[in-house]
Assembly symmetry: C2
Homo-oligomer: 448 residues x 2
């Protein structure tokens, strides 16, 4: 919002010194947003107005495509300076997007230490702790006193991503314990580190999936979490700001995948072709699948000719089963996503869903039966009761599948959000139509 | 998971001393989970094994109903001790759940300072910054030096929720600036606080909704955010651990509301009656609404008798429009939820959705037309093309409503997630059926 003030007041180049002072005074994220929204050609111009510290901060908040554009239009010395100062995890994200040639050149210009840090992070697969961690953390040797530790932090750790936790390692770099800056500050200077540091360290492996990292940090209210390799050596930390982003990302994925957006990471403002690519395949796949459901109806065209009220009831049956499915999926998938439930709870959740489903089945079944009576000609009132019964059974099937399938997927280490709503509704439609039409068809043959 | 080890190994009361040592050694959140899962009668027993510090920590992690049970079964001195040590925001949550009489008694026993803090927080409406903030923050006077500030923190602020940010106020308690412990530590002891503290303070008001608080902290990568009253006096801070919970809660609400779970805060393991209460009203409301859609079909029963293939096509039309609606809603509502878009972007998003929708309309329309050809008798092939056309138009209506309605709701300060999928699918069904059946009926009259 600050950026909007800026763009309203001072885009005029005449007022350059005012713009310069504003850009250097405002929060980096706001300046980043302001620069992102400028016309392409003005971006490098505005960016050059930033002083060194602000430029480095702002750069980290720019989207990768604009970072890349700036890299191409700034002179090499400036680029190297900025990239050198980026935190290694942000740098890894940028390098992922840059052409290989540019990455190679930039890596070459970095200090050996930063080059190593970047290479380490880029070596881990996307979506793992290794990829989101930073290598800029405070490490202390076991033997120090509190005073020595504080002095070491003051002298050497100015550039670390967080100094609020320090990790104590042995001579082999193996993680031993953790101590907070708070503990250090509230201890006597000559206390021994090993006496105040806690060996109840919550830690994760480099290959831990990022959503597990986020859930752990949430569970233990941590602002940083150490990452160790297979030899239990400390290699980095994940900080809370990354976790906040991960949690939002995962929630967005859950919502969108449930709704049948593939990958589940469409931005509201992504270009139309991306939107089509993420949505149309699911829709077409689903309509193809729906052929099965429709094939179920096809043989019964004769029945529909005899009892046309079926054509009114069937969409209601389909719509209501679909709604039940979306409800149960939203609760189960989200419960799995936030770690409230695990596949071990399947029976417990199923029991609850079936009990609640019984109530829903009776409610929806009666409602459909009642409403159908309105349309059914007097000779066909029995159809309403069949409709109500089928509705009730479909509800119970919906809650069962909506519980068991995501739990099963999770158990198999697949993404439970893949059991998306569209797939469920199509399945339920097919089951509902088949039962309904078969019963009506059977009744027509048996009834006088 | 640690708690599971405990419960597997040492629930046996014979091994009491082992249990006691485990319970006091493990992380508070794990012990809280362990105690919550114990049979009702054993909870107080296990809780009494905790030493004072651990008891206070564990208590904050217990769900309010178990906190209440413990309050009833522990002796008064212990209860007061624990409640006194809780952070004021956690205490406010507990007091919300306790019977008024118990609250009154406990308030009476608290120290004046803690009583005041609790009363302040309870004075703000649920879901606002005032309600989630803590009053335990570090406050510094403007005139101090860095050394004096550090000394003051060491001496007086041991119990503050975070000491990593300190807030600088004037003699009127008005918020002036903020300084991080990091800055203090890396500055010379005789530097003046006013020279190093930043007056670019991101702050919020007590009445700011919690989701805005969370979005701000995410945007500026903060671990604490100061809260001021109308006179700009500092009254509390919101810390990152609360924000992480708020973000998850808001995401869960978005997902569940979209799927038509009222309130959007159903836990996967909530009792069946809660589930029914949260889901059935929507389902029944929706089926009542569907009567409108069905009333649209009712007058056309004759047409369906003549062209029974309509009964096959209609469910596919309904299902596919519904899928499109869920996709666009999931992207728009989530985009609004995470602050990626605002109602100002309506035209931009609509333009993108319509462009993408055009592609989807052509794809789905052709698919439905093609598939319908399979079932339509040779004399009724024209019906397939009508179906395809109606499908395409319905897609465009779906993306338009799915964009404009949530944006409009947000503009009116209503919750955009209230435009839930079920409501949209019913509306789209009604529109689609009416258009389709009218066109076919018209064609039947005109065609030779």
């Amino acid at each position: 919002m600050l950026a909007q003030n800026v763009s309203n007041n001072v885009v005029d180049i005449e007022d350059l010194s005012r713009l310069k002072s504003d850009l250097n005074r405002l929060q980096a994220v706001d300046v980043g947003e302001y620069i992102s929204k400028l016309p392409r050609k003005k971006r490098a111009l505005a960016f050059r107005l930033l002083n060194k510290g602000q430029a480095i901060n702002v750069f980290e908040y720019l989207p990768p495509e604009i970072q890349q554009q700036l890299i191409n239009s700034l002179h090499d010395g400036r680029v190297v300076q900025i990239v050198e100062e980026m935190s290694p995890d942000e740098r890894a994200v940028l390098f992922d997007e840059l052409p290989a040639g540019v990455v190679k050149r930039l890596l070459h210009e970095l200090s050996p230490e930063q080059r190593q840090a970047t290479a380490t992070i880029l070596g881990y697969p996307e979506g793992t702790a290794g990829r989101v961690m930073t290598t800029e953390y405070v490490r202390l040797q076991e033997g120090l006193t509190v005073g020595e530790a504080l002095e070491k932090i003051r002298r050497q750790d100015r550039d670390k991503e967080t100094i609020y936790y320090a990790y104590v390692t042995d001579y082999n770099r193996k993680l031993r314990s953790v101590v907070s800056l708070r503990q250090l500050l509230f201890s006597l200077p000559d206390a021994l580190l090993r006496d105040i540091a806690s060996d109840r360290v919550v830690k994760i492996k480099t290959e831990t999936p990022q959503e597990e990292v986020a859930q752990l940090m949430k569970r233990y209210d941590l602002i940083a979490l150490p990452v160790v390799d297979r030899e239990k050596r400390l290699v980095g930390i994940v900080t809370i700001d990354d976790v906040v982003d991960i949690l939002e990302e995962e929630a967005t994925e859950d919502i969108q995948k449930l709704a049948g957006v593939s990958g589940g990471d469409e931005a509201a403002l992504s270009p139309p072709q991306v939107t089509i690519r993420k949505r149309l395949p699911w829709l077409l796949g689903n309509i193809a699948l729906y052929v099965t459901a429709a094939n179920v109806i096809a043989p019964f065209q004769q029945v529909i000719t005899i009892v046309p009220v079926l054509a009114i009831i069937m969409p209601i049956l389909a719509n209501s089963s679909g709604n039940v499915a979306f409800q149960v999926l939203s609760v189960t998938v989200r419960g799995l996503g936030v770690g409230e439930i695990t596949p071990k709870d399947t029976l417990k959740v199923l029991r609850k869903e079936l009990l609640a489903g019984l109530g829903t089945a009776i409610g929806l079944g009666s409602a459909l039966a009642g409403l159908s009576l309105m349309w059914a000609p007097s000779g066909e009132h029995w159809v309403s009761f069949v409709a109500g019964a089928v509705m009730s059974v479909n509800v119970l099937i919906a809650v069962t599948l909506g519980t068991v399938l995501p739990m099963g997927f999770k158990q198999l280490n697949l993404d439970p959000a893949l059991i998306c709503g569209p797939l469920m509704t199509t399945t339920l439609d097919a089951i509902g139509f088949l039962t309904f039409l078969s019963l009506v068809s059977f009744a027509l043959q048996v009834l006088p």
